[in-house]
């Protein structure tokens, strides 16, 4: 029989089980990061994962890996960082604008071929991006845009339209049509209503789209490798492979520099995420607009 006491016990058990599961899941998710941090400061060559490696004594920590990465990379770290930020940033800005226009058009306009176009976009997004590397290279090589900033920014920006455009469209679908109409009656043109009423309402999804538009290009290796040939055009992703991909057991641990590089590289991503956190979470839930 379910007495009040046993019911309360069951509830407690459930909460403990839930929390335990979540804690374990978090540990799984965070362990790689922890491992990277510990390895980046360690002076031991990594042969196997021992307790010595995982829980180092304070005295065995070193900044040697970081020094290697920052001062002894074949292309200056600052240059690579700047390049990556340029690509990530421009793709985010341009791609975002294009995605916003696309989403607006698909959501709030009714034109012939609209549904076909949406299916077309969705089908295109099924192609693994790897398949596009050769066509992109041939196109841009012919246009003499290889090894230039603009040459890479264009495919990066175009890539976000496909995914983020649909994201924006779905979000705008949940914004009632009559809010735009109220703006039209209030004195705005269709364009004005877009920039001053619809877009501000889409901030959550735009923030998410911006983050996605930034991360892809920032971490891209495949396309950048094909497009960029001069060392001073290198991005961080390229630099990581160029300098630190060989096995090398001399001096500071190879894994030390790889993880140090990786952590440094991910700082801007952490920063963007923290900045946009509020918007991204609400954008992820894609909730309908509240208030009438």
């Amino acid at each position: 029989m379910k007495t009040r006491r046993s019911r309360r016990a069951m509830r407690l058990l459930r909460r403990v089980a839930t929390h335990a599961t979540l804690i374990v899941a978090c540990l799984f998710a965070l362990f790689p990061v922890y491992f990277m941090v510990v390895t980046s400061f360690s002076r031991l060559p990594l042969e196997s994962i021992t307790a010595q490696v995982l829980f180092p004594k304070a005295g065995s920590l070193t900044l040697a890996s970081y020094q290697s990465v920052l001062y002894h990379s074949s292309t200056p770290f600052a240059t690579m960082l700047m390049n990556s930020l340029i690509y990530g940033g421009s793709a985010a800005v341009v791609g975002l604008l294009l995605a916003a226009f696309t989403g607006f058009a698909l959501s709030k306009f009714n034109f012939p071929g609209r549904r076909t176009f949406i299916y077309f976009v969705l089908v295109i997004s099924l192609f693994p991006s790897f398949v596009l590397i050769l066509p992109f290279y041939l196109m841009f090589a012919n246009l003499h845009l290889i090894d230039m900033y603009i040459g890479l920014i264009i495919p990066y920006s175009a890539g976000t339209i496909v995914f983020s455009g649909i994201l924006v469209k779905n979000y705008m679908d949940s914004i009632p049509d009559d809010i735009e109409e109220a703006a039209l009656v209030d004195g705005l043109t269709r364009t004005g209503a877009f920039f001053r009423v619809l877009l501000p309402l889409c901030l959550p999804i735009l923030a998410l789209a911006a983050l996605l538009a930034f991360i892809g290009p920032y971490t891209d290796y495949a396309l950048a490798n094909v497009f960029l040939t001069s060392p001073n055009m290198r991005t961080l992703a390229l630099g990581l492979f160029a300098d630190y991909s060989q096995t090398n057991s001399v001096g500071s641990s190879v894994y030390g520099v790889v993880t140090a590089f990786g952590l440094l590289m991910s700082i801007p991503i952490f920063a963007v995420y923290i900045l946009f956190q509020r918007y991204i979470i609400s954008g992820l839930t894609l909730g309908a607009v509240t208030g009438k």
Binding site: P176, D178, I179, E181, A182, A183, L184, V185, D186, G187, L188, T189, G192, V197, P200, L201, V289, T290, G291, K292
Partner: protein, 368 residues
């Protein structure tokens, strides 16, 4: 100066005709209600006046200005949407001020007018809040304030009261009427609620299946509906329909249905005819009399001050019995009682086979 004029306005969506050749003249400062069931085209008509839909053919004038080619923002109208359509990311004060801001009105004047309108509609305390924090009634008043503050020539309201609680709806209705009198603007109000329509309208425009059926004062529509649909749609409780026939013998014609036999004049001499009678024109009593029909109370609907009785009239043998409804004072009768019914047919309406009103037909006074 005329308020709003629609000339032979038609709206077609691909195959479907939503609004069919509607011509309407709304006087300046009039409160016109467009009434009709869902899907009759009333909202589409309103949106065409606003410019949110473009008519397939016909012309629309707002204050003598031909607005066919004008965008909504240039038509000098204010609109209240059924869902209020407040801007969720702005505070109430900014919602109201938005239109003025777009027209580059000086800040001081904006503040003054927003405050003025907020006082008028009793929403001053909400000015700093967001729409999501307001009640339904408050949101409705903010939507109204947003329309009023721009001082437009005409106000278009699309079922603005249908999302309110029943209790608030009555007071909101009265307030709306008061605002109309204060502002003196032309109001076009769309609804499917005939009680709302009857209480608010200076004139009523009834639509069904895209067509404008009748446009007249509520009283006229009630007393002289143009057809059976209008007669049934307007008036609460609903019109009592008695389907019967006219039989003529010499110079006298009688409308006959079961126990109901009424002398009539005008109209055709014979054939099927439908009579419509208002429930408040059917009186119920207990004393039998030669001109009263015996009946039994088979149903009862109490609405506080009055009861609607469902009465089965006793028929001569072989003829199936039929029911009428009568409006009586509450608590006078109970279900199962045997009563007598008299039809005050001086205001009876007659309709032909297609539902059109036969104007010429009426009940003849009984011979002295």
């Amino acid at each position: 100066m005329t308020g709003i004029r629609l000339e032979h306005v038609t709206k077609r969506f691909k195959e479907e005709v939503a609004v069919d050749d509607v011509s309407l003249e709304i006087a300046d400062r009039e409160f016109l209600v467009i009434l009709g069931p869902s899907g009759c085209g009333k909202t589409t008509t309103l949106r065409m006046i606003a410019g949110l839909e473009v008519q397939t053919s016909g012309h629309i004038y707002i204050g003598d200005m031909l607005v066919d080619d004008y965008e909504p923002r240039d038509r000098n109208i204010g609109m209240v949407f059924q869902s209020y359509a407040l801007y969720p990311h702005m505070r109430v004060a900014d919602n109201i001020a938005f239109g003025l801001k777009m027209r580059r009105t000086p800040k001081e004047e904006i503040r003054r007018r927003v405050h003025e309108v907020a006082v008028q509609l009793d929403i001053v305390e909400t000015l700093g809040r967001r729409p999501a924090e307001l009640s339904g009634g408050q949101r409705q008043r903010v939507a109204l304030a947003r329309a009023i503050v721009r001082d437009p020539e005409a106000f278009l309201l699309d079922e603005p009261l249908s999302n309110l609680d029943a209790k608030i709806r009555t007071s909101a209705r009265i307030e709306l009427k008061r605002i109309h009198q204060q502002l003196g603007g032309t109001f076009v109000f769309v609804t499917h609620d005939q009680v709302e329509a009857m209480t608010l309208a200076d004139r009523l425009a009834i639509m069904n299946h895209g067509r404008l059926l009748q446009c007249d004062t509520p009283e006229q529509v009630l007393k002289h509906p143009v057809n059976q649909f209008v007669g049934s749609f307007v008036g609460s409780p609903e019109l009592v329909i008695i389907e019967g026939a006219v039989e003529s013998a010499g110079t006298t014609s009688m409308f006959v249905r079961g126990p109901v036999r009424l002398r009539v004049r005008g109209g055709s001499k014979s054939g099927p005819v439908t009579m419509g009678l208002r429930p408040w024109d059917i009186s119920v009593g207990r004393t039998p009399a030669p001109d009263r029909i015996p009946a039994k109370v088979i149903g009862l609907e109490r609405t506080g001050s009055s009861d609607q009785l469902f009465l089965e009239l006793a028929s001569p043998s072989g003829v199936p019995a039929f029911t009428v409804r009568a409006l009586v004072k509450s608590y006078e009768f109970n279900v199962g009682e045997s009563v007598t019914v008299e039809l005050d047919a001086s205001r009876a309406l007659f309709f032909d086979g297609e539902g059109n009103r036969i104007d010429s037909m009426s009940v003849a006074p009984s011979p002295a």
